[in-house]
């Protein structure tokens, strides 16, 4: 399959939230003064009655959203992943997840995609943190179109959801007509030699790696595991049974992210092998986005090399 034009997934959020807000006046955006950067500008302009901005006060932002949700509103709290997961963390736990309130934490700048901003703005811990909080659903879409579909799915789901988008542009993978279900992996390619399980901005790398491998006689299954929690256990079990060898690829610390979630399923099966590619438990720096992935081994070439190593008879 061919990859399309490059567009950040935060744009998918920004476009879909306007459509959702027009359909349902209870859908609100609650910004913390980085709305422009998180692509809520159109919502603010077109739906001013449903737009709130509480200033650079993330803890309060989460609490206000919780209060709004108790009164029937569906607030989308909008910030960067580093702040949405860490500055707001305890408020999300206490006031949103514990009472299972219908609040969505919609975060741009996931992983190392705020590349030039440096380590302070790169969120490599966020999904791991959110994943350990009961009642939370954690999602990272792989492109503009799946971002739109998954934002809609999150709005339709009654409960707390953490959504993570990219700052930087990544290629389109899907078309407008592809459907996504929370908690259900999307299989992009079938294969029995190795399974490459990725999410977010690394799905494109998995697709390219699988194509390279196919040319070399290795058939890779590619799964877009957009929902890290609840993890699609059935898809992981099938991948272990069919392929035995699994490579996980993520723009997140290899500790406690997608790789950990997949490895836990395999470990409990007592079968298969899981090789985690991702951020190597180290802080980033200001550098080009692709370079930051490269220094952590998150590249097409490395996925291919690992696949060869794992499938060597």
């Amino acid at each position: 399959m061919s990859l399309g034009k490059k567009i950040p997934t935060r744009d998918g959020f920004g476009d879909e939230i306007v459509a959702l807000g027009k359909e349902n006046k209870n859908i609100l955006v609650v910004d913390a003064d980085i709305g422009k950067s998180c692509k809520t500008g159109a919502f603010r302009k077109e739906l001013p009655e449903q737009y709130l901005n509480v200033g650079i006060a993330e803890q309060n932002c989460a609490g206000v959203a919780a209060g709004l949700a108790t009164c029937g509103k569906i607030p989308f709290v909008v910030t960067y992943a580093a702040f949405g997961s860490m500055r707001m963390c305890e408020m999300i736990r206490q006031e949103i997840a514990y009472p299972h309130l219908n609040v969505k934490i919609a975060c741009s700048h996931g992983g190392v995609t705020p590349a030039n901003d440096g380590a302070s703005h790169q969120a490599i811990e966020d999904m791991g943190i959110l994943r350990t909080i009961p009642n939370m659903t954690v999602i990272m879409p792989a492109d503009y179109w799946s971002a739109r579909k998954l934002v809609r799915a999150a709005a339709e789901y009654d409960g707390p959801v953490y959504l993570r988008f990219t700052r930087d542009a990544i290629p389109e993978i899907y078309g407008e007509d592809v459907e996504f279900e929370i908690g259900k992996a999307y299989q992009l390619r079938d294969g029995k030699d190795v399974a490459i399980v990725a999410n977010g901005d690394t799905v494109r790398l998995a697709i390219e790696a699988a194509e390279t491998l196919a040319a070399q006689g290795i058939e890779a299954r590619v799964l877009d595991m957009h929902t890290v929690k609840p993890i699609d256990t059935d898809a992981v079990v099938a991948a272990v049974q069919d392929c035995q060898q699994i490579i996980t690829v993520e723009d997140h610390n290899i500790i406690n992210g997608l790789g950990s979630a997949v490895a836990c399923v395999a470990a409990e099966m007592g079968k298969g092998r899981v090789w985690r590619l991702g951020i190597q438990d180290q802080f980033g720096q200001s550098a080009p986005y692709e370079r930051l992935l490269e220094v952590n081994g998150v590249t097409v070439g490395n996925i291919v090399d690992v696949a060869h190593k794992l499938t060597k008879k």
Binding site: L28, E49, Q50, L52, V54, G55, A57, Q59, N60, C61, A62, G63, V64, A65, A66, G67, L68, A69, T70, C71, G72, K73, P75, E90, M91, Q94, E95, Y98, P99, H100
Partner: protein
């Protein structure tokens, strides 16, 4: 739905407050766990809210147009649990299950477990932001309900309290009434020792609130401040700074830091009940 508000005299409210304090202390005694000091200092405010200021329906705890109550200082929930039981949200016997496995009466309030709890609290500093969100929802929907929020003086150490004040001012939440339970004692010592509050009244005023400074254990003053706060529809959020006594009504608990989170023994419980019984106004 028409108003469910009650119309009690000050004396009736004072006696109701003694009932509430006895129930709160009894719960903590039976559980041998809980926070008596703050439950007693905030009791007049809780009583005045539930039996004077608030429009709620115990038979329909999720009534969309009800007034809301947020106990930001969630550890003093025995005071609110007592009020909820006395109002008929759940049977009085349930009070005996405080802090027991499977009880709706968790050590800190849970909105999914206990009818009448409008938001789960317990981690300090977080309730006011939630209360502001509720008051904001009323404004967005052109509804007339009010939101009452009890915060502790010690809790005002938390930055999120002041962040929430910003939201309350910006969105003109004159339907939000904050009560600061200024008993001057935190867990580790006096407010001055732990983190000098300077002036809580001036701080809230500087953040754009209309402030009422009162004796927070004087029922007539609490009722008067609530009436004034609710009548003032000038776009400003309201703050009642209530000077209170931690442990108010039980002599050996009054102004004692040690009674923050300790349950009375048999003898102490008997004495507390005797002292509270003697305070009923004939």
């Amino acid at each position: 739905m028409s108003s469910m508000k009650e119309n009690l005299s000050i004396v009736e409210l004072q006696n109701k407050c003694i009932d509430l304090k006895k129930n709160a202390i009894s719960m903590i005694y039976k559980a041998q766990s809980g926070h008596p000091g703050g439950s007693l200092s905030v009791a007049e405010f809780v009583t005045a809210c539930y039996w004077h200021a608030m429009d709620v329906d115990p038979q329909n705890p999720r009534w969309a147009d009800r007034d809301r109550f947020v106990l930001s200082k969630g550890h003093v929930c025995p005071a609110q649990y007592a009020a909820l039981a006395m109002k008929g949200y759940f049977p009085m016997e349930v009070l005996d299950t405080l802090r027991k496995e499977g009880s709706p009466l968790q050590g800190h309030p849970s909105m999914t477990k206990c009818p009448g709890i409008d938001i789960s609290t317990g981690s300090l500093g977080q309730g006011l932001a939630c209360a502001a969100g509720m008051a904001l929802a009323a404004k967005l929907d052109n509804k007339s309900y009010n939101v009452f929020c009890a915060v502790g003086d010690g809790e005002c150490n938390e930055g999120e309290i002041w962040e929430a004040c910003g939201t309350a001012y910006k969105y003109k939440l004159d339907n939000l009434v904050v009560f600061v339970d200024w008993n001057n004692l935190q867990l580790d010592g006096t407010c001055e020792e732990i983190m000098p509050p300077i002036s809580l009244a001036k701080k809230f005023e500087a953040f754009g609130f209309e402030v009422y400074e009162i004796n927070g254990n004087d029922m007539a003053e609490v009722v008067d401040a609530l009436d004034k706060a609710l009548a003032s529809k000038n776009g400003l959020p309201k703050c009642i700074v209530g000077k209170t006594v931690k442990g108010k009504g039980v002599s050996f608990m009054e102004n004692q830091c040690g009674w923050h989170g300790v349950a009375p023994n048999d003898e102490q419980y008997r004495q507390a009940m005797e002292e509270l019984d003697a305070q009923y106004v004939k």
